[in-house]
Amino acid sequence: MTALFEATGLTKRYGGLTAVANVDMALGKGDLVGLIGPNGAGKTTCFNLITGADAPTSGTIRFRGEDVTGARDFQMARRGVARTFQNIRLWKEMDVLDNVRAVCHAPEACGFASAVLRLPRFRRAERAVTAKAKALLERLGLGDVLAESPADLPYGDQRRLEIARALALDPELLLLDEPAAGMNPTEKARLMETVRRLREEFKLTILLIDHDMKFVMGICERIYVLDHGERIAHGTPDEIRCDPKVIEAYLGSEC
């Protein structure tokens, strides 16, 4: 089986600092994979390289069998790579519905002229996009707050709005950057449930970063471990838990 996503020899240098060094990674369709490591290990840089926010110094990235190394961020997003952010980045001056509608694509594109003249084409596109955005928000339990400002939502809802917004791209690969950060155990349990459910419903492949080992080990089928930009381990949660290198670099001797 060919991988949905494949990175080979991925490297990023900033001046003399090597943030990501020669990392190989492969995700098959439907995988739910974790990316862990101590602070400054290069996890977020990895996300930036995968999403095209940053161009790798060397190495190649293939997505759906195509070489997409060096593609820009919006091009990767349109190909089906969506992400959420470590520090929430919602558009605060737009309401909840518009945050999702800004990302949705209509089945038929609506150009400048039809938007300004409010032609039937515009109305059709607008209806389609609104329906899609509302459906997504409802699935994430945000159906009652469409007209609110995202800044007024509780923290957990803001995180879920970010996921709804990412799903509006119809992604195949979803990257979650510390989705459980700042959540209490109940919220984390609910989030685990949501992530699992979304993977089924939207046929997603998910790669996530988190520092909560219970969360990561509880949900991921495979885990990559980074330290100083290098991949030091890769395996199932059980293998990772007992890997001496990982214990030394990150987990401490809890096993």
Binding site: R89, D98, V103, C110, V116, L117, V129, A168
Partner: protein, 309 residues
């Protein structure tokens, strides 16, 4: 009586032209969040473009020349917007402000140094009257006609901007303005959104230039100096960045203040140059969101009714 009427007609035409300038600057500065300080350059491009086109008009009928010169004014300003937009829009904040300010001044200085038989150079240039004959007798009619045309242009521009902002490409632009990084990672091409807003804004400034040239009957480079940019900027700060109705209200306040001061004795009249930057400073300190903020007249009216109900 007639002179009083003429005064107010002149004032309202001014309000209309500055509303166009402010609404288009507002699209760029307020909605798209780009700090652009060269709007007087696009205004000048439009005014000189329309003048040049009118001079080429020859034996064509007046209204045809008038309309085609306005279209040409928009096109040339849009082209100017595109040609400086693409290289400059990678810049952010202050750097963009400096680059666009430079552009505005280049346009004015280039015209100032142009040959007399081309754009009139520093002495300015006459714009042939093509809309109708303008004599002391027909002055009222001319101003009423111009006012109606300007009002239609304002309405068209405001409806265009409003509809644009409430559509998919408009929402993408607002997303880019608020968080460009997030927008890019969510499939929005930030450069495309910003260039489009910049080109739309400059085209409408060009239209304002064309209307202005035909109304004045003669223009010179000093009509488009940096003080004009300050005035347009003051209007959007007063009205509220991001509010289209704010532009009309702000334009009225600023133009009326200026024109009424102009009637006062010389010693007082020249104080507007001090007054405007002062109002600008006071607004930014005490009410940076402007009179309307991001709201429109309709929102203000609704919330007022709710409170009094």
């Amino acid at each position: 009586m007639s002179s009083e009427l003429l005064f107010w007609l002149n004032l309202l035409v001014g309000v209309g032209i500055y509303t166009l300038l402010a609404a288009s600057l507002n699209l760029i500065n307020g909605s798209a969040g780009m700090f652009h300080l060269g709007h007087h350059g696009f205004w000048a491009l439009g005014a000189y473009g329309a003048t040049w086109m009118t001079l080429q008009g020859g034996s064509l009928s007046g209204p045809v020349v008038y309309v085609s010169s306005l279209i040409f004014a928009m096109a040339i300003a849009a082209l100017g917007g595109l040609s400086i937009g693409i290289p400059c829009l990678r810049l952010r904040g202050d750097y963009l402000a400096i680059a666009t300010l430079g552009f505005g001044e280049i346009v004015r200085i280039a015209v100032q140094n142009s040959p007399h038989d081309f754009l009139g150079g520093s002495l300015g240039i006459q714009v042939p009257r093509v809309l109708m004959k303008v004599t002391p007798k027909t002055l009222v009619a001319f101003r009423v006609l111009t006012l109606s045309i300007v009002a239609v242009a304002c309405a068209a521009a405001i409806v265009t901007f409003r509809n644009y902002l409430r559509s998919m490409p408009g929402r993408r632009l607002l997303a880019v303005a608020q968080d460009e990084t997030a927008a890019g990672l969510l499939g929005i091409n930030p450069t495309r959104s910003k260039v489009l807003a910049f080109v739309m804004g400059s085209a409408v400034a060009g239209l304002a230039g064309g209307l202005y040239a035909h109304y004045m009957g003669g223009i010179n480079p000093l009509n488009f100096n940096f003080m004009e940019m300050v005035k347009i900027f003051l209007i959007i700060v007063l009205g509220g960045m991001g509010s289209l109705s704010g532009c009309a209200v702000g334009a009225f306040l600023v133009v009326a203040t200026e024109q009424l001061l102009n009637r006062a004795p010389e010693a007082i009249a020249s104080w507007w140059q001090v007054l405007f930057p002062l109002i600008l400073a006071i607004m930014i300190i005490f009410r940076p969101q402007g009179i309307f903020g991001r709201r429109e007249i309709r929102d203000v009216w609704r919330s007022w009714r709710r409170r009094t109900a």
